[in-house]
């Protein structure tokens, strides 16, 4: 097996000095505040664990601080790319992009990157769904679903992947807009879905790794169709692989990132905007929203599905909203969030919701308003 290995050496530096990331100009600010690198030690931990677990494959690594520096003392088989240029100590996202392109040219089976959400985005922008990717967590923000919970677990996943017992599934790549974060505006965007290796049936201890296994999604979709999908009701299906499982079962082709509409088993709208959704609601008598939980922070509305705006939610009303979530995803999340920029509505919608979490299985979860979280968490 050929493993592409790239480290974003500055990832995670902002965390200890109170910055929310190290994207763009934030890096210099981090250095000025005395931040120390985090990623190199994470990279070393990952490689040590990989060697310890008897990884057999060959590693195609980025040069110097982006990879090979951490491999020189290890027993693993590796070759170094000539990217980034020898001697370059401070690297940028362009370097990451070029390295990942080189991985594709060399034909790797899996890409492991050490970094955070920003790095995940960069890697995804090049690989798309060509090659599965796996993140060794080293960022300040890790909203994306492509990260293992620790460097050691990441090594575990790689070895499983090599043994052919890992399955490859879609996971979200999301990121916060750091410029707006400085102004205290949390704006998480869903950038797309990457392929990532997951381990099914691994009961302990890596159940953390299992994220939305196929079987769970099929169970949810089948149950929803059997028990909740009624004739003459318009269903808006939000983004994500869980909602897509419904249309897959119905034999319809849904967009993965967009909002689509289904009526009496037919697709009547694709990749809809807010105004198109409002328009359809006016035309059909009864409308329901079907959404899944987005990201590791547990957003039901306001992340990746902004089309479901406050205006839409007011028209549809809570009784007609269905939330789907796989148990493995839910296990990571304490409460769910709504962020539609309308505090009054957010408060009105918050409370205990019944989520559809399996075939004939529902789970109660607390849904909180993003506007006024402090108020609830203190209580």
């Amino acid at each position: 097996m050929r493993l592409g290995f790239v480290v974003n050496p500055i990832a995670g530096m902002g965390g200890s000095v109170g910055l929310k990331g190290t994207d763009e100009d934030l890096y210099e600010e981090a250095v000025r505040r005395g931040a120390k690198p985090v990623a190199p030690s994470r990279a070393v931990r990952f490689l040590q664990a990989l060697a310890g677990k008897g990884f057999q494959g060959i590693i195609i690594a980025a040069n110097s601080v982006m990879g090979c520096d951490y491999l020189s003392s290890s027993k693993l088989r590796f070759t170094c790319l000539d990217l980034p240029e020898p001697g370059k100590r401070v690297t940028s996202r362009e370097d990451t992009l070029r390295v990942v392109k080189a991985f594709l040219e060399h034909g790797v089976d899996l890409i492991v990157f050490v970094g955070g959400d920003g790095t995940a985005r960069d890697v995804l922008s090049v690989v798309g769904s060509e090659v599965p990717i796996l993140g060794v967590p080293s960022g300040v923000k890790m909203y994306s679903g492509v990260f293992a919970t620790s460097p050691e677990v990441a090594a575990d996943v790689v070895v499983r992947f090599e043994e052919g017992v890992a399955v490859v599934d879609h996971a979200e790549v999301a990121d916060v807009d750091e410029a707006r974060l400085k102004e205290d505006l949390l704006n998480v965007r869903l950038y797309g879905y990457a392929l990532t290796p997951l381990i099914e049936g691994f009961v302990v201890p890596s159940k953390d790794l299992v994220s939305g296994s196929e079987e769970e999604k099929w169970g949810i979709a089948k149950y929803f169709i059997e028990d909740y999908m009624l004739p003459d009701i318009l269903y808006f299906l939000g983004p994500g692989t869980t909602t897509k499982a419904i249309t897959d079962l119905l034999g319809l082709k849904k967009t993965l990132l967009g909002v689509d509409a289904v009526y009496n088993g037919e697709l009547v709208g694709r990749d809809l905007s807010e105004s198109e959704i409002l328009d359809l609601i006016r035309r059909y008598e009864h409308a329901s929203l079907v959404v899944s939980v987005i990201g590791r922070q547990g957003y039901v509305f306001g992340r990746g599905n902004q089309q479901f705006s406050a205006r839409v939610l007011r028209l549809v009303r809570k009784d007609n909203i269905f939330v789907l979530a796989t148990p493995s995803k839910l296990a990571e999340i304490k409460y769910l969030l709504i962020d539609v920029g309308d505090p009054e509505l957010e408060l009105e919608l918050s409370g205990y919701w019944r989520l559809i979490t399996g075939y004939r299985e529902e789970t109660v979860k607390l849904v909180l308003p993003a506007c006024c979280l402090d108020r609830f968490l203190r209580a």
Binding site: S150, E152, F202, K207, D208, G351, R360, V364, K365
Partner: protein
Amino acid sequence: MPFRQAKWDEPIIFEVSDFSKQTFLIDEEFADEVSEALSKVPKSLARGSELKIPNLSEVEVVRHYNRLSQMSYGVDVGPVPLGSCTMKYNPKICEELASDPRITELHPYQDEEEVQGVLEIMYLMQRWLSEITGMDECSLQPPAGAAGEFVGALIMKKYHHDRGNDNKNEMIVPEAAHGSNPASSAMAGFKVVKIPTAPNGETDIEALKSVLSDNTAGLMLTNPNTLGIFESGIIEISDLIHGKDALMYYDGANLNGILGVVRPGDMGFDIVHLNLHKTFAAPHGGGGPGAGAVCVKKGLVDYLPVPIVGFDGRSYKLRYDLSRTIGRVSWFYGNVVPIVKSFIYIATLGPALREVAEVSVLNTNYLMSKLRRLRGVTLPYGENRWRKHEFVVSFENLLKETGVSAEDVAKALLDRGLHAPTIYFPLIVKEAHMIEVTETETKENIDRLAKAYEEIVELAYRDPQAVKSSPTNTSVKRLDVLVANHPKTMAPTYEYLSRLRAQET
């Protein structure tokens, strides 16, 4: 105490030696009798090929099993602190009496008049268990704990059906419940609705209220729950459930935290199942079989699985005359041997049964107070509360700080001659160790366990790799979890093993 487990390269019994030996000498007369009998077997029914069973001498058999037992570990060797499993010591007096030929040589088809003794034992067990749980009648039929749960769910189903309430199709189950609760509910045809645990470690009553409806069939609850915390709102919960004309089900797999102190019946429960092999000291976990008695309140007695044992003032009888019974769930009397063992356990303790709970709760909290002080260890949910029969600590911080996981810590315990606790359960606690020492363990043993944890955690910060490479003192070293758990790697029979091997070559 240094620990090195025996390591024999012991073959499986089919391969101990060739098939030519025999255990006993058989005299000619007996041999003649056998061949005469065999000659009467019609050719069409006779086996053509040689019977493939191991033919070994007595000494080979004894050595084989003794060697295996030396590579094994159980409560007779040291503590087995598996949370929710209640691995208490099984007193030898129970084993001895249950092995009495007057029990073992009974035949299920014997006339009831000839088996009055065992029927009396069963009758008294029904009475005692009713008294212990605060219920009105019990059936000893279910052959295991989860079978008892399933029976409870079926009783609920039929009860609602009889009252014309087929719309009652939702079973509420806390997310920290035993995993078999949602499974039993689903098997009985209910939808499962899971409710969360509040930060104080109890069922979130507001969440419960939010899901109650006319469709609610019942609630399955363990109290104290799997975090070892007693549900202080239990009366309110019962009232809420009964207010919806639904039933309260008590998962009494483990009564060690409340035995003789409080009763499920007094908390408002309508149906209870009991794992006799846990609280009442019959062997389990490979030493079974178990028994999962089910007890109910008055209005549900007619639904119990049959037969139950009745007494007319003169003799004991198997009763099949329960009008609404869900039917049979087992063979003959159920699993009689564990019932007899538990009967003896209760009889020998008498009123001291309450001390079982008192000592287990004391042991739990003593160990908990030692472990929660360790670096990298936290006690999630209800940090300031005492626990009952068990407690759950998290090694999440240890994992973050050292890379040593709950599983690694468990493996390191094995290296110190201790059995690991239940790990990664309940799912609401990350990197969990669920620990239950029961009343069995002495203070010295609990101190030993605490000391082992202390050493392991200290080692994790000093030399994490040393912890991650354990166990090394055991006969079997660290297994690849995925391979070990995978159905494709398991061979339930010798026949199948031979086929697997043939495939490999």
